[in-house]
Symmetry: C2
Subunit: 571 residues, 2 copies
């Protein structure tokens, strides 16, 4: 196996060990605030050299053949193109359909030994991997930034520390579920005379090879829960990155292979399956009989295909949705507009949790600043976005870059969709002149009255920085649209603003019916598009946007089985 | 809603209440011995009148229209035919494909109220249903006996008290998983100045309509875990019984409807979907978009169809397998043969857990009685079966009756399959002259040496009282066949007899690889075909015989989702 030279252990923070696990396990029960990986990239937290060292480590990959061991690979591919124009050209071992036999055989080779290591050892090794990845967090952050277009701090957090927290959350759930029964015990049934005694053992066995299919925008955050939930429960994992965002997952796989090998396990328990764009490897992989788990983030179309075709596997999908905000009334118009402006701007709205449709009654709303007409609400939102993004140097650190031409096309054609409330602007990036940076567009449209909203422009996902301000008859119609589109198209998030408890109750009822997480009256520093690991579930699995959540028990329990043996025990 | 007159509450045993739940929850963690429903039908346990009252209650249904409320039903069907020749002729509301809209609309009508009742109330109501069913346990036992051909005591236990224990086990798992997070809490993130405080609620929401597809042989035992796991987690349940075994589930649905109505919930949260034989209702139901959970027990063919076609639903299947016994050596030849004789005879081997293939080395085995040739082992087994069934009046209480003509045909043609070691005999039933009673047949065959065993007669499920004594080169070949057939055809149980720890270790390794529960050296009163609720998992989900287990966390966690709402909390 080809590996990079040994790295120093993570010197940044506390060790990720059994205490960490205990705290994480407590947090997933209490749902209280917890984080094991400090989210501030400040030198005060990570030391004066960490940022520069991480950047150098990232830059050293440029144009190189990435050293990761992939049986069955044939040749190399370099498929990445940075939305910031950051040079990449990293070459990865290429896996074609013809190499899958070798890849999957290698993946399975170490499975029995990894299973026999038992839950505690697997957890310990997985925590060591997380600690090692934390030691490379600045390198990871640069890789995430370069490939996804996330601005640096966001890449550090969402792509680094928050992703690690979600991974730890998955490990904590898995440990809890793998150890809820004793490994061995003696069962004793009362009987005439001596009781019947039977010694029983209960072994956690893996389901089989797991495939993780990554996305362009959140290669680590959306892949880590599935990757580490599968690995820690004993399954080999083949990581199939999106061709535009390989490096963050290549670094991840490399780290997994290093730690596994150091601990005496087969490094091919985690492998990377890179491919040329549109080579169709995910379909081939996901339907192989050896593959028993698939974790997917991406389009609704392909997610649906996986659900109905990869029937030999347990399939977890996070797809797409139409995220609603219902504005009924507010006690803080300024807070409301500022809060939503941040959500719409962050990473140019390229999050699966970004609000898309803001429903406002045609007659306007009551606020702490008096009555606001529909136009006033639009103007208030537009002004809040303008204010937030007034300083271009700071704006680019919030917006990041547009991830691909599809998103760019949608924002450039936003005027076709309705009446422009806020035009998107192109900004120059002060340090990355090739970066494609756009501010959000807001488009006013009519809800369209009764009847099927399915063919109206706002009724489909419009991924990226285009928000619909939807004019409804009243809040009741707004909620009805949330319900209908939630059931038909799905939603990852929903928000409501109202000073009326009956309206909030009605919104909660709709959210329960749709099965979508609801944020109520957020006017401060908590945003509808953000979720906190260990406390907030990401997705629910209850509507078409996703069939699973990060992280609940259902997300981990299907990844392993319990196999018992029993024999008579001496009296 | 049409209901039977009020019944007395269960006077038989302790109340099924919060204490019961606590004990059940403790048992599923410790895996220690526990039972909430006494398995002895003795008058000392259930009182002097219980048996006669239960029999009268059962007999009163003969030829009647069974009173259960089923929206969408059109006409009635009477499809049952007792293997004992016991008169039935009970008519049930018939559901055709044309009635499914009404049925599913009615099923969903009460869902929000049932959801809003919350986990604790749902558990309480479900425990009340179990207690009420326990109050009808003799009636249920007679219904199970009459429809399945199980002898009375087995019908009382497997069809009554053990089924109720498995139901309680599912409720205990579901309660644990539904309440692992707080219903509401305040999250507090440290921040500059005041902490950020957010009030969060977490609501368990049901997945959708659940369909339970019952089987002929264990209409209650195999249906209760799925039925009550789905109901207690908030889902409406449509029970689709096998046309030959409707009454036990009709009684069950009636009891559910009574308790739900008494507690102010919609009785149509549980309904019965009876159909004419071969009407194909299960396919229509299982693929409806409203149906989000399917629990199935039956053939491998239809189970596989459900797994690949009902992709809109979470599908749990228990199908078929080829259950192996490996005989390598033993310290108690008498114990071995007596133990296996009981397993082969119980309910004429018509259990999904009955051993089918007994692998014995051609050169024989070492035992406490000296060397036994292959023929000696067969003769010993045959003698043990003969001894167990020598008294015909007692034999019929173990054998029960042959459930249908397919099984009868297989046992009558057993001689075509190999060399007869033990002929099946036809017994007269002393009290049911029309009963079809057969003793088990044992057939010796050669393993067949290297190559694919897939087309040999012993390599496919041969459901019923036909056992193959398979002559192998040695124990190594025996284990190899367990592995190969386990992977290809599946197995619900496996057993090994050996005095050698290395052989036992090798058998354990094979069992882990196949993913099948292993029983080692059972020579006393514990049998490979029996599993104890709260301690033994039934099935694993890890091989083709079943994709789920009774009851582990994975069996319940997918039946509900957690939907949260959050709002800023006062400082």
């Amino acid at each position: 196996m080809q590996c990079t030279p040994g790295r120093p252990p993570n010197a940044y923070a506390d060790a990720v060990d059994a205490d960490t696990l205990d705290q994480a396990v407590a947090a997933i029960r209490s749902r209280g605030y917890y984080s094991a990986f400090p989210e501030s990239p400040s030198p005060r937290v990570y030391g004066p050299d960490a940022a520069a060292e991480g950047q150098r480590a990232f830059e050293a990959w440029e144009g190189r053949a990435f050293p990761v061991s992939v049986p069955g690979a044939d040749g190399a591919v370099a498929t990445e193109k940075s939305p910031f124009g950051i040079p990449l050209g990293v070459r990865y071992p290429q896996v074609g359909a013809g190499g899958l036999d070798d890849l999957l055989t290698a993946a399975r080779a170490g499975m029995a030994r990894w299973r026999d290591a038992g839950p505690d050892t697997r957890v310990e090794v997985t925590l060591e991997i997380l600690q090692r990845l934390h030691g490379r967090v600045f390198e990871l952050a640069n890789a995430v930034m370069a490939t996804t277009g996330q601005a640096f701090v966001m890449a550090f957090q969402a792509g680094g520390t928050h992703a690690l927290d979600r991974a730890l959350e998955a490990v904590a759930f898995a440990h809890t579920e793998m150890t809820r029964h004793p490994a061995t015990m003696v069962w004793e049934r009362p009987a005439k005379g001596d009781p019947v005694r039977v010694e029983k053992t209960f072994t956690v066995v893996p389901r089989g090879v797991a495939v993780v299919i990554g996305c362009t925008t959140f290669p680590t955050w959306n892949s880590y829960p599935g990757l580490f939930a599968s690995l820690v429960t004993g399954n080999p994992v083949v990581v199939k990155p999106h061709p535009r965002a390989v490096l963050p997952l290549a670094i991840t796989v490399q780290t997994c292979q290093e730690v596994l090998a150091e601990r005496g396990f087969d490094p091919h328990l985690v492998t990377l399956a890179a491919e040329a764009e549109d080579a169709g490897l995910a379909k081939d992989l996901a339907t192989r009989p050896e593959v028993r788990i698939v974790d997917f983030t991406g389009s609704g179309e392909f997610g649906g295909w996986l659900e109905s075709h990869a029937t030999q596997a347990l399939v977890h999908t996070e797809k797409s949705g139409v995220n609603p905000v219902v504005i009924d009334s507010t006690g803080s118009f300024r807070g409301l507009t500022a809060n939503l402006a941040f959500t719409l701007s962050l990473y140019s709205g390229q999050m699966c949790t970004t609000s898309q449709n803001i429903y406002v009654p045609a007659g306007g709303i009551e606020t702490d600043e008096g009555h606001k007409s529909f136009a006033d609400v639009g103007a208030g939102l537009a002004a809040a976005v303008d204010k937030l993004l007034a300083d271009e140097a700071r704006a680019v650190e919030l917006l990041g870059a547009i991830v691909n031409d599809d998103v760019l096309g949608r924002v450039e054609r936003a005027a076709d969709l309705g009446e422009m409330v806020l035009e998107s602007r192109s900004l120059d990036h002060p340090t990355h002149p090739d970066a494609v940076v756009r501010t959000p567009a807001i488009v006013a449209v009519d809800a369209g009255g009764p009847g099927d909203p399915g063919d109206r422009p706002y009724a489909r996902e419009c991924f990226g920085p285009v928000t619909f301000l939807v004019r409804t008859a009243d809040t009741s119609e707004s909620l009805d649209l949330v319900r209908r589109l939630g059931h038909e198209r799905g939603a990852m998030t929903a928000a409501v603003y109202s000073t009326s408890e009956p309206v909030l109750d009605a919104a909660r009822e709709v959210a329960l019916d749709v099965g979508v997480a609801l944020s109520e009256n957020l006017t401060g520093g908590v945003y509808v598009n953000q979720s906190a690991a260990f406390s907030d579930y990401h997705g629910t699995g209850a509507n078409p946007a996703a069939n699973a959540a990060y992280v609940d028990a259902a997300y981990v329990t299907g990844r392993f089985r319990i196999v018992q043996s029993r024999r008579p025990a001496p009296a």
